[in-house]
């Protein structure tokens, strides 16, 4: 069958015998997906791949090590002081840092970058806008008092750590104000230009960017921390996991992202490192409580026992997450310390609960996967639920918009957040300030499930303002407990991980839970 193909290729090969070298020793080649990167402007991103790119083109005021995120470390700000009333953060900006343009970096660049994120009000502002900054007040609250001093005043009482965490996020990369303004058009704050150009002080400079194809970044010899070992980083669009696996095996690609489980297992068996890439999101089952059946707490309780999550976590999803049943990510303040036990798969118990709720013959519901990636989980859920008398009809497709618009019955989805604090997930899962349809608060999961929980919402607000770590922890524990007790319409079953396959001989590439994965320490032997 391949005869013709073979002949043609043999001719081509005899004309040209390629001796493909592995990826060069001073270049890092990453195989990834570059099909949905609308912008490389820090203020306009909130997804995994662009966050990684931007974190290497721009520096932040502070940074969080991927393995100890509560340890806020200096970066462009060499030190900072928090006022006694916890309402003012005064930062001292490092001297002798230059942007890739050669311009010196000052506190004015930092102030302007923060103001810009808030004024643009694009997706990059999601975290930092939570602290009460608005386009109207940000100019007076965030100011450079001299070239080395940045003063951030907080409009409302907020835990200082939260503010610093958001300053460490990829969207708060510090931009070269002069270069950006030189490329501004119609007062757009250089949004258009920064989509595909970089103006940062990071260790890399954007050299070439073609969406759906390739991104090249070259190292800066004059980077303030010293030049990185990898002189060039190449991100290549390789959407097919099998192809990517072959290229990692052959040594042409060093790091693989968005890979299928089977390929990750095969690479692991051949000596590649699989960085589990712990994330701050969850895989969950959501129920719309506007559906009269799902409005009943007993039905929702029954649903806690129709998900056979153990085999799912061990096979289909073994690289995508680990069993978890709390809305606070593992290891964080207030998170459970024991293994999850609450939602055990028990079809008989589920049947009993359904009968109690008035459904002795079971239930029929439509099940939406939020996207194609969640289809396998939906299928697994369908199979395990059938044994409990719950019949799911799966409708494949991209159903996130339906979820946001409350146009669904049951949905399986996954979430992500870049804020390394329980508040980041709690505000997603346990916060619903206005349950009316017309409020359209699609950003909050609890609103999407149409469950009004004023007490929880109040507690989440409290946790934002509380500055005492012990008190915060107590509030988080309380929220988690109360959430579980109400037979929530969001059943968390796994904590999300985003695995990275790293070729043997490549060190220093560590996937960051907030996606600010940095290439600075990468070395190849």
């Amino acid at each position: 069958m391949l005869a013709g193909l073979l002949t043609g290729l043999a001719i081509a090969a005899s004309l040209y015998a390629a001796a493909y070298a592995a990826s060069p020793p001073n270049a890092l080649v990453i195989g990834t997906q570059l099909s949905a990167v609308p912008s490389l402007d820090p203020a306009a991103i909130n997804a995994r791949t662009p966050s990684e790119v931007v974190s290497n083109l721009y520096d932040n005021l502070v940074e969080l090590p991927p393995d100890r995120m509560s340890d806020i470390r200096p970066m462009l700000a060499e030190k900072w002081v928090v006022s006694d009333d916890k309402r003012t953060i005064t930062m001292t900006i490092r001297k002798s840092v230059t942007f890739s343009s050669g311009n010196p970096l000052t506190a004015e660049d930092a102030a302007w970058s923060i103001q810009r994120v808030i004024k643009m009000a694009a997706v990059g502002s999601t975290d930092v806008a939570l602290w009460g900054f608005t386009p109207q007040n940000v100019d007076s609250l965030v100011q450079a008092t001299d070239p080395q001093t940045l003063v951030i005043k907080l409009p409302e009482p907020v835990s200082t750590e939260l503010v610093l965490y958001s300053l460490a996020g990829a969207s708060l990369g510090i931009i070269d104000k002069a270069t950006a303004l030189k490329n501004e058009r119609n007062g757009d704050l250089a949004q258009n230009w920064l989509k595909s150009n970089s103006a940062g002080s990071g260790p890399y400079k954007l050299t070439q960017w073609r969406p759906n194809d390739i991104l090249l970044a070259d190292a800066r010899a004059d980077y303030w921390r010293g030049a990185p070992a990898m002189k060039r980083v190449v991100m290549r669009h390789v959407p097919e996991s099998g192809n990517l696996r072959l290229q990692i095996e052959a040594g042409d690609i060093d790091v693989g992202q968005y890979m299928a489980n089977g390929d990750l297992e095969a690479l692991q068996a051949k000596g590649a490192t699989i960085d589990p890439g712990p994330g701050l999101g969850f895989y969950y089952v959501a129920m719309n409580t506007q559906d009269p059946d799902l409005a009943k707490p007993l039905v929702r309780q029954a649903f806690q026992h129709i998900i056979d999550w153990k085999p799912l976590a061990q096979t289909t999803m073994n690289f995508n997450g680990f069993p978890w049943q709390s809305i606070i990510p593992k290891g964080m303040s207030g998170a459970p310390t024991a293994e999850p036990t609450g939602y055990q798969y028990d079809p008989e118990l589920a049947k009993k609960l359904l009968a109690e709720a008035g459904y002795p013959n079971g239930l029929k519901k439509t099940l939406f996967p939020s996207s194609d990636a969640l289809l396998k989980m939906a299928v697994a859920l369908q199979a395990s639920a059938r044994k409990a008398g719950v019949e799911f009809e799966i409708v494949p497709g991209e159903h996130t918009p339906d979820f946001r618009a409350r146009k669904y019955q049951v949905l399986v989805g996954n979430s992500g957040t870049r804020l390394p604090d329980p508040f980041g997930t709690l505000v997603q899962y346990a916060y619903n300030p206005d349950n009316r349809d017309e409020a359209k608060l699609g950003g909050y999961y609890l609103w999407r499930t149409a469950l009004d929980a004023p007490e929880l919402t109040k507690q989440v607000d409290l946790s934002k303002a509380e500055t005492d770590p012990a008190k915060r922890k107590a509030i988080f524990e309380q929220i988690d407990k109360a959430f579980t007790a109400m037979n929530p319409p969001l059943i968390v079953i796994l904590q999300r991980t985003d695995p990275y396959a790293i070729r043997k001989g490549v060190t220093g590439y560590v996937g960051h839970p907030t996606w600010s994965t940095r290439w600075y320490d990468v070395k190849k032997s």
Binding site: L5, A13, K195, N243, A250, E398, T400
Partner: protein, 353 residues
């Protein structure tokens, strides 16, 4: 030429020109109608897709204020008809809007992805023709014999084996094991960004600039996806060639020529094959058109940055400007191919003039 004759032809010149003009304007009108129809169809399709273009811009974790602002920015709050009319107006001025997922003007994206697809389709049609036409001729000449069956199996295999699987198997053999070809993209990472595009066709640009190492590199990248895509079209090309040839071989002039002692080989290639060239051209033109937007699976397997992937992604994320821009381009290409093959038909077949 006599004066009378000149007068006669002169008398007929104007009406003939007029008729041609009429024909041309009729064609232009039909092209315009087709394109408007195309746009209307894709626009309607976009409205029916269960996806949210706002989320394509913002991602799914977005607050209401941002959502509403983007909704307005995209003009989604205006009446549908108004949106459509303004889109058509923009397209006429060469502005297809911006892609939500790449953040660039659609026209700029198309200028990048389309040459990649054209190049891949050209290699594929070359492979498909070189394999399919001889296969079809041989099968027709040996009708019902073993060779005929083998030819059919070879053609059908290419068409029925899942292209995804075939792509990965081919990668395993020719890339991973033999190291003859490259695995993804259009150039090696070392050569990326080293060649200033002229035509956008990598093989042509590298040759024009005399960069032969890079030409080899480009060839190593395109040969496998091109060959597989070409092999995929072999079944159709060989089947059509076979039936055209059979039709010719049954004609009286063939029997007469054979009786006159014309050699079999000469009979096949100089007489029968010559007479099927025109029909074959149409088949190849249509196949080429099909390769332009049908290459999405191959483009995915080989990470080939072409139109197929671009359009599919646009459809999935409801990136309407991308979908309409790409569909418009494909429609234009089909129309162009039709017009060209029509002209060639007239040139090659005197009977149609």
């Amino acid at each position: 030429m006599t004066a009378a004759a000149t007068a006669t032809t002169g008398a007929f010149k104007r009406p003939a020109r007029f008729a041609r003009l009429q024909r041309l304007s009729g064609r232009a009108l039909s092209i315009a109608t087709t394109l408007i129809g195309l746009l209307l169809l894709t626009f309607t399709m976009g409205r029916l897709l269960p996806a949210d273009p706002v989320l394509a811009v913002t991602g799914s974790e977005v607050d209401k204020a941002t959502y509403d602002r983007v909704y307005q920015q995209l003009g989604l709050d205006r009446p549908v008809l108004e949106q459509f009319i303004s889109y058509v107006r923009n397209v006429l001025t060469g502005d297809m809007g911006s892609s939500l997922t790449t953040g660039r003007p659609v026209s700029a994206d198309l200028l990048t992805v389309f040459p990649a697809t054209i190049e891949l389709a050209l290699v594929a049609i070359l492979v498909g023709t070189l394999m399919g036409v001889p296969l079809g001729v041989v099968a027709a000449v040996n009708r019902g014999k073993f060779v005929d069956h083998v030819a059919r199996v070879v053609g059908l295999a290419g068409h029925s084996v899942p292209i995804f699987w075939l792509g990965l198997i081919a990668l395993l053999i020719f890339y991973a094991k033999l190291r003859w070809v490259a695995a993804s993209g259009r150039l090696d990472v070392l050569n990326e960004g080293m060649i200033e595009p002229i035509t956008g066709l990598m093989l042509v640009d590298t040759a024009l600039r005399g960069e032969w190492d890079m030409f080899h590199d480009a060839l190593a990248h395109i040969i496998l996806p091109g060959a597989i895509l070409g092999y995929y079209s072999v079944a159709y090309i060989s089947r059509m060639t076979r039936s055209f040839m059979l039709e010719q071989l049954g004609q009286e002039y063939v029997i007469a020529a054979r009786a006159k002692g014309v050699s079999r080989r000469r009979m096949i290639w100089a007489h029968a094959f010559k007479n099927i060239r025109v029909q074959l051209l149409t088949v190849l033109a249509l196949t080429f058109g099909g390769l332009l937007d049908g290459a999405v699976l191959i483009e995915t397997v080989f990470g080939w940055p072409g139109l197929g992937q671009y359009l599919t992604r646009g459809l999935r994320l409801n990136d309407m400007n991308v979908v309409m821009g790409a569909v418009l381009l494909i429609g234009l290409v089909f129309l162009t191919i039709n017009i060209i093959s029509d002209r060639l038909y007239r040139i090659l077949d005197p009977r149609t003039r």
